[in-house]
Symmetry: C2
Subunit: 192 residues, 2 copies
């Protein structure tokens, strides 16, 4: 199976009004998403922000948990954070993954609302595509990925629908559910 990785974009993402913004990195996005990515055996978790000061901050957080006092106190956190990479752009994440996997990854976008005019992939179809090439799953902070990022993506994952008309999951919850639907144990789903 070719590697699958995940990128969390802090730019370009939408705000409430649809304007393109850069969001600040949330500490728990580093930890929670690394733990989920590691649990579902992803090859890498790219934290994407163009702001250098934010990248320095995340690297310092990672260092504490990977090599510092945090690693001694909570060793399993070190294991999760070992797959994190801090990069300035989506292109940098793609280039890093290409150099590691020997092939440019296909991109899969996610979001609460599917873009108009694009067909969406349910988990079994997405897994079939992922068997063909390295894959990078893109998640947006703020109010979601920029339209251009979605338009340029190779594939669109079917949105998560819950059981209510309300649909405002946190990105941390959306990542967890998406990974479970794609890669969760056979017992819950019977199709892996």
């Amino acid at each position: 199976m070719p590697p699958v990785a995940l990128a969390l974009l802090h730019h370009p993402v939408r705000d409430r009004s649809g304007a393109l913004i850069t969001t600040a990195v949330t500490n728990l996005d580093v930890h929670d998403i690394a733990r989920s990515a590691r649990t579902y055996d992803l090859a890498a978790y790219y934290l994407v922000t163009p702001i250098e000061a934010q990248r320095v901050l995340i690297e310092r957080i990672l260092s504490h948990w990977r090599d510092g006092a945090g690693a001694r106190r909570v060793p399993e956190r070190s294991v999760a954070l070992s797959i994190c990479h801090v990069v300035p752009s989506l292109e940098a994440a793609l280039a890093h993954m290409q150099s590691a996997a020997g092939q440019r990854p296909h991109t899969f976008v996610t979001g609460a609302r599917p873009p108009e005019g694009r067909s969406v992939l349910e988990p079994p179809e997405a897994r079939a595509r992922m068997a063909e090439a390295p894959s990078l799953l893109l998640f947006g902070t703020g109010h979601g990925l920029a339209p251009q990022t979605v338009a340029e993506a190779d594939h669109v994952l079917a949105p998560i629908r819950g059981a209510a008309s309300y649909n405002h999951l946190s990105v941390r919850a959306a990542v967890a559910i998406t990974l479970d639907r794609l890669f969760g144990d056979a017992g819950a789903r019977g199709e892996l």
Copy 2:
């Protein structure tokens, strides 16, 4: 369908060594889990802590987002947090739900490791039980629910297995995945 609710316990829960402790409430546990619970149409989300100062703090956070400046700025957050109840004990959550639903709820515990000697319910079996009576799903902070809480529960949900030997999901991720497995849209699962 009888109501289903969720309780996040901060006491009694285990620490790394298995000792019983009381954890501090994490702000994002309030928001993320409320949003997930609302998305999957739960009737209530009980935040359980015996520490009065913590309950006062959570009530202040809730007030900001339900009635204050936060509600005006992010109205959908107000909708999610409207289902939150801050209570001092699991018993108080059960009593509140019993008075609202007219019947004492059955409890379902969750956790990374199933307790020895108990049979566990996969999602279809759990849903069948939930059709019979009001249900309260129990999640633990720290390193998980106390053994006594597990022993006294009516049912045990099958643990979430990912795709790796690593299995250290955050409670926020575990809640999201559990709710999606139990109540997610039919498209991803075909059995609801």
